[in-house]
């Protein structure tokens, strides 16, 4: 019996306790209940297809019982497997109940045998795979690989929409600088001041403000308006500075300017 090899006696002497501890390591070494079942089944020394599942279930249940007796902590899946095998055992032992639904004991047993055989087969081929000649151990790749010069051609692309959006972006930016856009038709007060300062010296008597308008700004109404406003504002500034005097006889009458006599 396989369980004999694993579990000697139930009475706990010091040596047996030590053995029990060693067994914990052993259980840890198993990769789950299926692994244990596979190990147990090997002791039957028959083709896995001819294995006695009933016998195997009994062996496993003994294994679990002994483990419990030795206070070996078993993971839940070991216990789940034990419960399932106990169920399987009862199905195999009792005559089939025709009213009962679900798979028969034979079907379940056959599937377990298949699972064990498949796991064993996978282990066998895994071993064969690892026994193959391996690169870097048995055969070798080129040691001095030549660099493949990568000629990377970078193609840049842009769509018409990109182009349009780019242009619109640039142009929209311009719109947020209105003074740049509008200056063409704007005569600023600074410009008017610059123009008037050198002229006022010659204006000894009352002179109409329109004579101070810059050349070429009189015809276009837009430009004339801007120039008139700038010149008027500049005049007020010059009056404030005390360089000039300004007068208007009545509403909408011509505005007249003259140099302020500094001695007064």
């Amino acid at each position: 019996m396989a369980d004999r090899d694993l579990f000697e006696e139930d009475t706990l002497s010091v040596t047996e306790r030590l053995a029990a501890e060693a067994l914990i390591v052993d259980v840890d070494g198993f990769e789950g209940p299926l692994d244990v079942l596979l190990m147990l089944s090997r002791t039957q020394k028959v083709d896995l297809r001819k294995i006695s599942v009933l016998h195997l279930a009994q062996q496993y249940l003994t294994f679990v019982e002994k483990a419990k007796a030795l206070r070996i902590e078993l993971a839940a899946d070991y216990l789940v497997m034990a419960a399932w095998l106990a169920f399987l055992k009862s199905r195999l032992l009792l005559p089939p109940d025709p009213t009962e639904e679900g798979p028969s004991g034979e079907e379940l047993a056959a599937h377990l045998a298949f699972q064990l055989e498949r796991l064993q087969a996978m282990r066998d081929v895994a071993a064969r795979l690892m026994a193959r000649d391996q690169k870097g151990r048995d055969f070798f790749a080129r040691g001095q690989a030549e660099d493949v010069m990568r000629i990377r051609t970078v193609t840049y692309s842009a769509t018409l929409l990109d182009l349009m959006q780019g242009y619109a972006r640039v142009r929209t930016r311009d719109e947020f600088r209105p003074f740049v856009m509008d200056r063409h038709n704007v005569f600023t007060m600074e410009q008017a001041l610059d123009r008037m300062r050198p002229l006022i010296g010659f204006a000894g008597d009352w002179t109409d403000i329109t004579s101070y308008l810059p050349d070429g700004w009189e015809t276009d109404p837009v430009r004339r308006r801007s120039a008139t406003a700038a010149t008027f504002a500049a005049s007020l500034e010059l009056v404030k500075e005390g360089h000039m005097e300004i007068r208007q006889s009545e509403t909408f009458a011509p505005i007249q300017l003259r140099r302020k006599d500094q001695r007064e």
Binding site: E117, L129, A141, G143
Partner: protein
Amino acid sequence: MSEEQAEDTPQEESLFEAPPMGEQERMVEAVLFASAEPVTVRELEARMPHGCDPAEALAHLRKRYEGRGVRVVRVGDAWAIRTAPDLGFLMQKETVEVRKLSRAAIETLAIIAYHQPCTRAEIEEIRGVSVSRGTIDQLLEMEWIRFGRRKMTPGRPVTFVVTETFLDHFGLETARDLPGLKELRAAGLLENRPPPGTIPLGQRDEDEDELNSPESGQTELFED
């Protein structure tokens, strides 16, 4: 562009005609020798002058190197030159220490190789234990496995398949050359048999057929 390249080769007159087969063989030889990684026929075609037939040149080259110190080997859809395995003893200097794989990793790898495309649930069902994240990660990191197509089963789980790097490492031409594959299939051990009493997934067979059909992944062009 390839015409321009052809001008540089000895076959100046062959602007519209491919170079002679002997010359093509030399080219394939040069490219395979230069690369440590397997080179696909497609890449050969892209690098060789227009009109070349790298597949045929490969067949010639393979024959030429039979029994020599290096061999022309097929790796999936690609080709490589590798030293003859019997001369491994000369290469202690080049030997690379392969990271020891755990038993779980080796088994997981074998299950993926023989059952691909294979889900994590299938690996767990076969091994009877859960697969740790680290095991899969390690195999992915080594580039021995990669993600395959998702399965058309509920939850659309991801699948794993083995890579060309895997084939290259174990000197396999295709995944079909895995040792013992035919016997396992004949024994029905590669079938995905659902436990009795559960609803069969009904998808596995399709996928398996695909894996084995000549129309799948690996082309038949280079079968001897």
